[in-house]
Symmetry: C2
Subunit: 395 residues, 2 copies
């Protein structure tokens, strides 16, 4: 019916989009730290934001303005512009006011990541933004400019070709490398498409697809002050995004970026899926999957490559959902270690489970044996590097 | 009205109690690993247990028997007897059955801590228990026998002298050293008193005092499969425990043991209180205090001695309670760093906050500026040692 193929160029893969990053002196050593995405024609825009009550200023401003259409997103790293009060919002207005002399912008939007509680260095940002080449198509520089503790840039794009031969594209860039996944280590994602979508279509799509992607690597509803996922649609392809093809492509973009974030967990070496089945409901399965992905004891056991299924079982028991030791089964990939009350550990089984845990990517399967509820979460291991990065981060 | 003074001897401080520990070969190197508390006359007993659905066998057995009175508690380390099914419960029955030939026991109770999913080494435990000197009064050996990753034994006792000159005593022993506080690193506590209490008085007292003590170092309702707090009252003093004096003494015992557990957090160097005031309710304050105590980013900042108040603010924002950046204030001890929307950080203030964080014990104060709700939680820092201990624990 339709074909989805991966293509290059991240957020500038869809026609009509431009992006780049510059060094504005926010990071040291002339690293890229300020970027933009520009849409030739105004795009419809929608977003999902953090549930943190201490919402950052750029999100306050977006909501205050009720932005539904824009042609410009400005993104800085090193400063979250959070806990900065009304001044934080007017700083954004000042920046865009200054840029008016250089650029004609339609409802420009700002997004920030970095340290909390410090006012934006407006002058540096204004000077940096004035040095943008607005006709550049450099998604890689944009993705590097928004990195904080990320160890690599994260981008992806797909072209979707319909049976008619017509095609549209969708591309995305994200930053984030939190171990306890978006939790406070800000996660930002920017997705562009040349398909045509209304504002409410965008909001509905993001709300529904975020659950199994960006929110499947999150836990506890813990989110940073700045977490944001934006989707811009400029309609240049002439094709509607209200289709199964678009939804699938969007899901692939979001899943890819989400897994890149968790793989880039601070100091992490492993990407582990917790696949919960047999729960009383999908929501129960989600609670268990996220509880496992959040458990320090589980994450350190992943780091230690220790097939310590007792920690898995105990964590399942704390998720607050219907479960029992007589019905639970646990497997490392296909190596069943505990089956409905029976401990299957032997030296041989333990060794096979250990071989699974030595891999960089694997799945831990838990069947609760109760219903048909299912969910998959994603986590990384937690090792010494995490402590090092986070003990030293601010200074 | 009454006088409370600290005395020696832990759980054997109250008259009529005996305790000791032996090496039963569960731990290596002839370390103490099996202990008992004995009451000359049967004591009334009550307990609060884990909320984990995967309840360990000793707790199942206690509930199944509906124990309200006992003269003997047997405690082993190295094996949790959890996720062991019905066999785990009958193993306990077998052990006490074998001991009948040596000792006359009245409703004996067992408590366990250690690895999950492995059957108890019954023969070792039986042989070890048969070597007990039931007339020993060695609370220290008992407290060492129940240690797992604890780096020191935890015990305390108080004598309470009433205006009349009469007195009763209360003593306690605990084990636990979890960083994410009881969470899965089992917390066991055994409290004895020669005051007289009914079963329901014990249950009510434990339920009400656990909230600000053992549960103030816990988080998220995460508890291990084995967490238990027992209180035994033998009435030997002839005085009632239904008094303000008893409640205060019990609270002091529980608070002391709880703080010893958090101070012994795996690899921890600091004991930090999060004192939340001005919340909409005590329950809101509790949520915020526990969220802070649970945050990896906050704990690693404590380890790094970084007065990174942005992480505090952001964590407050995720607690799911009414709060706003315009009303929040944050202080390290008396050093106010953020006050109702205003960032008070200067080099001097930052340095003063840093001096606070260099201490081994300090309080971080957060006033939400909304109501009169208050709660205090306790946490330790999280450093490299935590990862090392937990990556290597089982093997």
């Amino acid at each position: 019916m339709y074909k989805i193929e991966q293509i290059d160029s991240g957020v500038v893969a869809p026609s009509g989009f431009f992006a780049d990053g510059v060094s504005a002196g926010l990071k040291s050593d002339n690293q890229l730290d300020l970027g933009f995405i520009r849409s030739e024609k105004p795009s419809t825009i929608g977003a999902v934001f953090t549930t943190n009550r201490m919402t950052a200023s750029p999100i306050k401003k977006f909501r205050k303005d009720g932005v539904v259409e824009t042609d410009f997103i400005l993104v800085n790293s090193k400063n979250a512009n959070a806990m900065t009060g009304e001044a934080g919002v007017s700083d954004i207005e000042d920046i865009f006011g200054e840029l008016e002399s250089s650029y004609k912008l339609h409802n420009p939007v700002m997004s920030s990541t970095g340290v909390i509680g410090v006012r934006l260095p407006k002058d540096k940002i204004i000077a940096g933004a004035k040095s943008f080449n607005l006709n550049s198509r450099n998604s890689d520089s944009f993705s590097r400019a928004i990195m904080t503790t990320d160890s690599y840039p994260k981008e992806i794009a797909f072209r979707v070709t319909l049976k008619s031969g017509e095609s549209f594209s969708i591309g995305g860039v994200a930053k984030g490398a939190g171990m306890i996944n978006p939790s406070m280590a800000t996660m930002l994602a920017f997705i562009t498409t040349d398909a045509k979508l209304s504002n409410s279509e965008i909001d509905n799509l993001l709300q529904s697809e975020v659950r199994t992607t960006f929110n499947a690597i999150s836990v506890d509803g813990d989110t940073s002050t700045n977490d944001s996922v934006f989707l811009l649609a400029n309609g240049e392809s002439g094709l509607s995004g209200d289709s199964e093809a678009f939804r699938e492509a969007l899901q692939r973009v979001m899943k890819h970026l989400a897994l890149q974030i968790v793989s880039d967990g601070e100091g992490a070496k492993k990407l582990v899926s917790f696949h919960i089945t047999g729960a009383g409901s999908d929501s129960d399965a989600e609670k268990v999957a996220k509880k496992l992905g959040d458990s320090l004891l589980v994450k350190t056991a992943l780091f230690g490559e220790d097939p310590n299924w007792g920690r898995i079982a105990s964590t399942v028991g704390t998720a607050g959902v219907d479960c029992s030791e007589e019905k639970l089964s646990i497997a490392y990939e296909d190596v069943i270690v505990y089956d409905k009350g029976e401990n299957l550990f032997s030296d041989e089984v333990e060794n096979r489970a250990y071989q699974v845990m030595k891999k960089d990517r694997f799945t831990i399967n838990c069947d609760l044996g109760i219903g048909t509820g299912e969910f998959k979460s994603y986590a990384c291991d937690l090792g010494y590097e995490y402590v090092k990065i986070n003990a030293d981060y601010r200074t």
